[in-house]
Assembly symmetry: C2
Homo-oligomer: 192 residues x 2
């Protein structure tokens, strides 16, 4: 997605450890108009997918997921990064965070993810794919199927996306960062 | 907002301790179409407000805030419920959670909340107003001004909203729960 890549180059910040920060439009401050364009882009990429639900992870996944849910007319469920004390009937899984070097627990209510669900999983970033593995496991626990996954930015050099594709998952990333060189983002060539 | 109140009656669940759960359309599973209607409703209520930014708190505030940002053509910033290790220049404040009976730390980057900002604060719930107090303090730290606050559901019997109104804040709540009686929600009479 050309406009997204231009925005990453313009407003993204590279920190030590190849961390790409997009806090000014995606992870802290949000640009709703860009998010709507992202949603329309995902919708086009997923037009052959027969899904009935969008699933994402709090917090940065929620904005793109709800926009996509709006344009695809589908409900959205966001996975929580903890196990809420006031919720019952939760499916639970531990996930390792690369950026934050820690383990966190993700959970989703079995009321909102069932064997009848055909899921598109949406998230802001794909790196090693640890969050995606957590979601795959929660979907397996619930008996639901993952029809496709969509990521706004994939860090291609960390390999999670290619592993998922190799395993047969349909993975759409709107901008794939092939490498970071001299604090500059180099994108993988894609068809748009 | 009539449609919202009907939905709360239809799908809300009352737990012991007067906790109203709306997990099926607002706090865990999200109904994007309803969220768009909520955003349009807020936009109408705020048409006299000269704001340049929407501020909310992760996670449940993000979906309504990004929808409102979209229809009002304003950027959104979501306050984080922790202090991220990869972020600098953060404004920080402790907040007491009534529902969860604990203290948590909220933070926002001073890069995205400055003295030039005229803020509409959006959140899913208003109860005692503790989160709102945290946001008021973060805005004071940054030098920004709060032009208005919008909440989807206000628990009127917990008093936070009326206190804020008494202090002169413009507080718009789309559904005000006056009390919970025999596990039934009784709404305050409002003009729509």
């Amino acid at each position: 997605m050309k406009k997204l890549k231009e925005r990453i180059i313009k407003d993204g910040v590279i920190l030590p450890g190849d961390i790409l920060k997009v806090d000014s439009f995606l992870n802290h401050q949000l640009d709703p108009e860009l998010l709507m364009e992202i949603a329309l882009h995902f919708k086009e990429k997923f037009k052959h997918i027969d899904a009935n639900k969008i699933v994402t992870i709090e917090a940065s996944g929620i904005a793109p997921a709800v926009m996509l849910g709006y344009v695809m007319k589908l409900p959205v469920v966001f996975i929580k990064k903890k196990v809420p004390s006031t919720m019952q009937n939760m499916l639970v899984r531990d996930v390792r965070s690369f950026t934050k070097q820690r383990i966190y627990t993700v959970s989703i209510s079995a009321d909102y993810l069932t064997q009848d669900d055909r899921v598109i999983f949406i998230d802001d970033f794909l790196a090693y794919g640890n969050a995606a593995r957590g979601v795959i496991d929660l979907c397996a626990q619930s008996g639901s199927t993952i029809e496709a996954m969509g990521f706004i930015i994939e860090k291609g050099f960390q390999g999670g996306g290619d592993e998922l594709r190799h395993e047969g998952y349909e993975v759409v990333s709107l901008a794939i960062v092939d490498r970071i060189e001299d604090s500059k983002v180099i994108f993988r060539e894609t068809d748009d």
